[in-house]
């Protein structure tokens, strides 16, 4: 706990599922050396862990780091202390989004659009998800996707309507009762 009785950044992260071993990190750097996209991170994975432990919340969550994680789990398979860096990084992403940080990446919008597709349809409806994502970010960028979209459509791989899933209501009961912030 910090002096004012609030959970510290480190405690906040360590309380998330599969993130509790963060204290056992020995800063060996295997995660950064293994990372598929480390060259694009402002602070690569080893530094991310160090910054959580040093309480550098704003500096970390305002950066582009964590958002380049492609979930390849090389860091996690190789970590000699089994701290599960990929899970910690996804945990950090959820803290950043919950607390309204605005890191310089479109991946946050992609994640939110993806999540909205799940609550709206029960499943990810790929065509609708991509369309909404490009409308929210950069509609012109969708032009680059056009050849692929036409290819997928002409090969029967891009249905233009969403399926109706009965379990959607049950799914939304579950989603509405759970959240990282509270214990509702």
């Amino acid at each position: 706990m910090s002096d004012n009785g609030q959970a510290t950044f480190l405690e906040q992260v360590a309380s998330l599922p599969a993130c509790e071993k963060i204290n056992e990190c020995i800063q060996c750097g295997v995660c950064s050396g293994s990372c598929s996209t480390a060259t694009r991170w402002e602070y690569p994975p080893r530094k991310v862990i160090a910054m959580v432990r040093a309480g550098m919340k704003d500096e970390l969550l305002k950066s582009n780091s964590i958002w380049f994680c492609v979930s390849c789990y090389l860091c996690t398979a190789r970590c000699p202390r089994d701290i599960k860096p990929a899970n910690i990084i996804h945990g950090l992403e959820s803290i950043a989004l919950q607390e309204g940080y605005k890191p310089p990446t479109k991946t946050t919008t992609m994640y939110r659009t993806f999540a909205a597709s799940i609550t709206d349809y029960g499943r990810v409806y790929e065509f609708g998800f991509m369309l909404k994502y490009f409308l929210k970010t950069n509609p012109l960028a969708a032009l680059n996707m056009l050849p692929l979209a036409i290819g997928l459509f002409s090969h029967g791989r891009m249905p233009l309507t969403a399926k109706k899933v009965k379990g959607k209501d049950q799914l939304n009961i579950i989603i509405n009762r759970l959240s990282t912030g509270g214990d509702r």
Partner: protein, 304 residues
């Protein structure tokens, strides 16, 4: 007949359709029944874990609860679904506070989950429950001389499940050998295709796909055999043209999901094996083997 509860995952209804077709096409000839879970919903994938970890585990638990009612092993073709389902399943067994929280949420939705489900991947089921000897016995079109790079990707073998090697797996290679084809050395076989960022950070993802294609090509592969993961398959198959545009390359490496290749080798046509849905067309590459089949049937046919 072997029975499994089958969870296709969202991509199989759209971009993964050619792979999905091949899985169902080979099931009957191989004496497998993949019974699709009724009324399944999304597993959450990595994006939902990045939005809210608890909600993500909650919706994954719904899928596990549906599967538990069937009493069967839960099998998924998608490597992302596989990792998400396995991870949530393990957490619900190990973390009792989390498990209590999820259990009470599920009960509010009229469901229960007691943690008894065994989560499995289609590739693992084909390799362990069916085995390469059975595969070999079903072959009518041996793929002799076909050089392929076997791409396992990330999440079928990692974080680490205690069987196929998380760094240099070889199950696909062994299956491909049983079909008569020749796996080439492929150092990047378990590296990432970047699918999770292909929409929001295309430069990052396309670079990863480029490295895979270059590595397979450098090692003499004529095609890339993927797992049944619709994301890996789409990355190699669908985004190959984007790589060629960006890097001024001329890659023409069909992406053959292992189940598509099995379907073809056991005698199914391009349509039934889902191969007509591939954007990087494998027709020219596979046609010679098709003709070989015709001549062998003719040879066996009684003289008229």
């Amino acid at each position: 007949m072997k029975y499994y509860a089958y969870y296709p995952g969202c991509s199989m209804e759209a971009t993964g359709a050619p792979v999905e077709a091949s899985i169902h096409a080979i099931a009957k000839p191989l004496d497998i029944n993949f019974m699709e879970l009724e009324d399944w919903t999304c597993c959450g994938s990595s994006p939902l874990a990045g939005v809210d970890k608890f909600k993500a585990i909650g919706i994954t638990a719904r899928v596990l609860a549906l599967a538990e009612k069937t009493g069967l092993d839960l099998v998924t073709p998608c490597s992302s679904c596989y990792t998400i389902l396995r991870e949530a399943n393990d957490l619900l067994k190990e973390d009792h506070d989390l498990s209590d929280k999820i259990r009470s949420t599920l009960s509010a939705a009229g469901m229960t989950y007691n943690g008894t489900v065994n989560v499995r991947h289609v590739v693992e089921v084909l390799f362990n429950d069916l085995g390469t000897d059975v595969l070999k016995s079903k072959i009518v079109r041996p793929l002799t001389g076909l050089k392929v790079a076997c791409y396992h990707g990330c999440q079928q073998v990692r974080p680490s499940y205690g069987y196929d090697d998380p760094e240099y797996p070889d199950w696909l290679d062994k299956m491909v050998v049983s079909l008569g084809a020749e796996p080439v050395n492929f150092p990047l076989k378990a590296r990432c295709c970047g699918s999770s960022l292909v929409i929001s950070e295309p430069d990052t993802a396309i670079e990863l796909i480029y490295k895979l294609l270059q590595n397979a090509s450098d090692n003499g592969a004529q095609a890339i055999v993927t797992t049944t993961c619709p994301l890996c398959h789409l990355a190699i198959d669908g985004y190959q043209a984007s790589v060629n545009r960006k890097y001024k390359t001329k890659f023409n490496l069909p992406a053959l999901a292992i189940t598509q290749l099995i379907a073809f080798a056991i005698g199914l046509d391009f349509k039934a094996s889902g191969l007509i849905g591939n954007i990087t067309s494998p027709k020219n590459l596979l046609r010679p083997f098709m003709e070989a089949k015709i001549s062998s049937t003719e040879a066996e046919a009684p003289a008229t």
